[in-house]
Symmetry: D2
Subunit: 257 residues, 4 copies
């Protein structure tokens, strides 16, 4: 068996004089990058630079829209209506699309960021708003959402290709949702344990949930956080393990139907 | 002789709970609309609504990028480098493009707003930055700039179609620049005088400058401000006069080569 | 019996080129004004101008802090921690304090705005954060909160003087909370009915709840919205009625113990 | 001879998830700190934390107001009118004042940041606007400006105590202005040369200008940038040299008349 999987990371989250992340390192190891759109993070100068960086490393790019909350880095929920969310997603995807176009690359996907990602995983109306925003711009764009989430279902309803995302270093509840940050088992720190989990997700389509049971999970793309210490090391370790196992690493557009 | 000319106005400048302008009236009389992109004015909700409004009235739309200065409404100069300006224009044009695409209409043109418009009329490096931003997104986009300005020249250098803009109610210096606001003769208040000036610009390609001499001027599109009292009346009066004279009113894409 | 009551309204909510409300009219009829602090609405230029306007009309002033969400006018909930809320309130109250000081007037009170007001009425931790922010700046500041709310209790816990606020034109649930906007009975439109309700609140300390029962309510200050059509008329009508009934109208600092 | 001098640095410039500078190190060696006010940098959470940090190290604090341009870190000129600048300074100083008050410390000074500092050094109308903003809040606040600048003169006109600031590692033109960044001699890189220059400024009131001549300079406070590599080392070296020479290091309020 030869599984194909995408490795993704959020990059382009710097802002003005403020630098976050090790984008120059991260792009060496991922196959897709989620680029902030100047709303929860990033700015136009950073966006241009980041699209060029991704292009140079032949990394596929996606828009990473978030809530308009720079001070909170898009990690706090903001009580927007579905219609407001839809318009904010159109705005951000369009902005990144223009940078892609300016640099001669195609926008591959859209993945919501932070609190918007989390709320869209649970609330169908917001998930539909995001999916409709994306579909209205370009039906060829791939929507990336948490495996088994409302966002993934909304993407299908909107006629979009959907990529199921898993997290390398996060614990899962028996229902397939992520163990909340701060709770026991929410983060897997041991790199070897992470590598073993990822291998199982990719090759067997299963992950051990927090209660010890194995649950099915679809892993089209694996998310790595680029702004935490040790992130690049973890990414390299997992990538190495996957290659060793014979998995093929490729941007999602090369294998998502 | 049958001249063709475009009438344009800035719309979509409301923001959140804040309403500016009489967009619903203005779109009845213009042939093109410049829509704010959520940076110096406008927000994603307003952008979506405004693109729909323009579509319903068959008014061609353009992006109206400005400096990131909402409190100053984009009217204060901000000392950005050409590279910064270029990226900010890409961001804004892309954002509006996505709304156009979502609503099934084509983006016709790009016209910088306020202080960005003024500085781009004078400074070749900033003018080139704007023109290159536009050309990098789509060479079919028309760049709108002050007649005879550096921006118009930059558009030609970048291989773009350029529309020369004139102002219905502003005074002109003998060198073709606008009389600065606040100076004598900067604003023509008498609607009849405005109508006569516009008719001369469109039919003869001439305007009386502040020193009484007649100077040549190319009028592809005439700008009306939609947020001043009496604006709609002025627009209706000028439109009536032009139709009476046999001028054809059409969006710039229908006649700019 | 001679009741004393304060009439308050939100003013200073304009921003840059954007004008909201009829501040010049409203200040003629209220005894206290809540002034936006440049975060959910208002800007420094508006703040200075509004403090001068209130001073000229001998209207007492208060800071009106809100969530950092200008596009949403502070009306959408933002999931901030109590510590974040505390710091955001300190920031805003300090900013308005400086304008008061510059104009030679004393800051009388602090009243949270919009979604922050609503969430502080229900959640003790956020209510305490606000009360502690105010108490840390100046223990003489009066905290204004919904009558019977968690915010009113938090003010007392923090050792602040608290003013209980009622709404002239809003319906009340039997538990003393406001009928949610959009639900039947949330808004009382008939000016005569509003005047009768207000008179009862001020003179008898009672209001008819949505189920017809009379509930006790403490009315130190009555809120009027200055940005809705008919607001000034309603304010004048209620003010007239109260004066007719012999109620004394005065800023809260003149009668709150 | 026993000169007294203050050492200052900008701190509190982080924003949300974005960290800038080595504030925890810098506060060990300076006697005064300029704290960003949440406009060109900083946010309310950072402001509270930074005021506490300064208090713990017995470092005097000042407000560091700048242009409302977070993306440009307040380093780009924004064409504000004197009246606009005045109100923006009031807003920012008041905000920081409230944090000082909450933490039980006194605000010592106000020093404009970046482009606002530079423009206020040259333009009397903007300098007066800043000085009047400060004087209107509290006449005991010390205004910090470039030695010999328009801002220093404006402070005197407004009846404020003024501290003349010198830069440890910047070159000076013969007229006492700073050699523009990017020009030869704008930055002194050699720590030993910096220490020698500073010693001469403090003990003799002189500095070697870019043309080799010695010019008089008044050094009440010496600025160190905390966000550049090697900044802390430079600060320690200069501090050591000054102590060795018998200079007394103290916050400006202890010696400015």
């Amino acid at each position: 068996m030869l599984a194909t999987v995408d490795l993704n990371s959020d990059i382009g989250e710097s802002f003005g004089a403020y630098k976050i992340g090790w984008d120059e390192e991260v792009v060496k190891y991922v196959t897709s990058a989620n680029i902030a759109c100047g709303v929860h993070a990033g700015d136009p100068i950073v966006m241009g630079r980041t699209v060029r960086l991704a292009r140079e490393h032949k990394v596929a790019i996606g828009a990473h829209p978030g809530f308009p909350d720079l001070q909170g880095f898009g990690r706090r929920n903001l009580a927007m209506s579905p219609s407001e969310v839809k318009n904010y997603v159109i705005w951000q995807v369009g902005a990144l699309w223009a940078f892609a176009r300016s640099e001669g690359v195609l926008l591959q996907h859209v993945k919501p960021h932070g609190a918007l990602y989390n709320v869209a995983a649970r609330e169908p109306a917001l998930a539909d708003a995001i999916a409709e925003a994306v579909a209205g711009i370009d039906r060829e764009l791939i929507l990336v959402g948490l495996a088994g989430s409302e966002l993934a279902r909304a993407g299908e309803r909107a006629g979009l290709k959907v990529a199921s995302e898993v997290f390398a270093d996060r614990g899962y509840n028996p229902d397939g949702s992520l163990v909340q940050r701060g709770h026991p088992g929410s983060i897997i720190n041991d790199p070897e344990a992470v590598a073993v989990r990822v291998a199982k997700m990719v090759k067997e389509g299963k992950v051990a949930a927090s209660d010890g049971t194995e649950i099915p999970i679809r892993a089209d793309t694996i998310c790595f956080h680029g702004d935490t210490p040790g992130a690049v090391e973890l990414l390299k370790a997992v990538r190495g393990r996957l290659e060793q196992l014979g998995a093929k690493l490729a941007p999602i557009r090369e294998f998502i139907a």
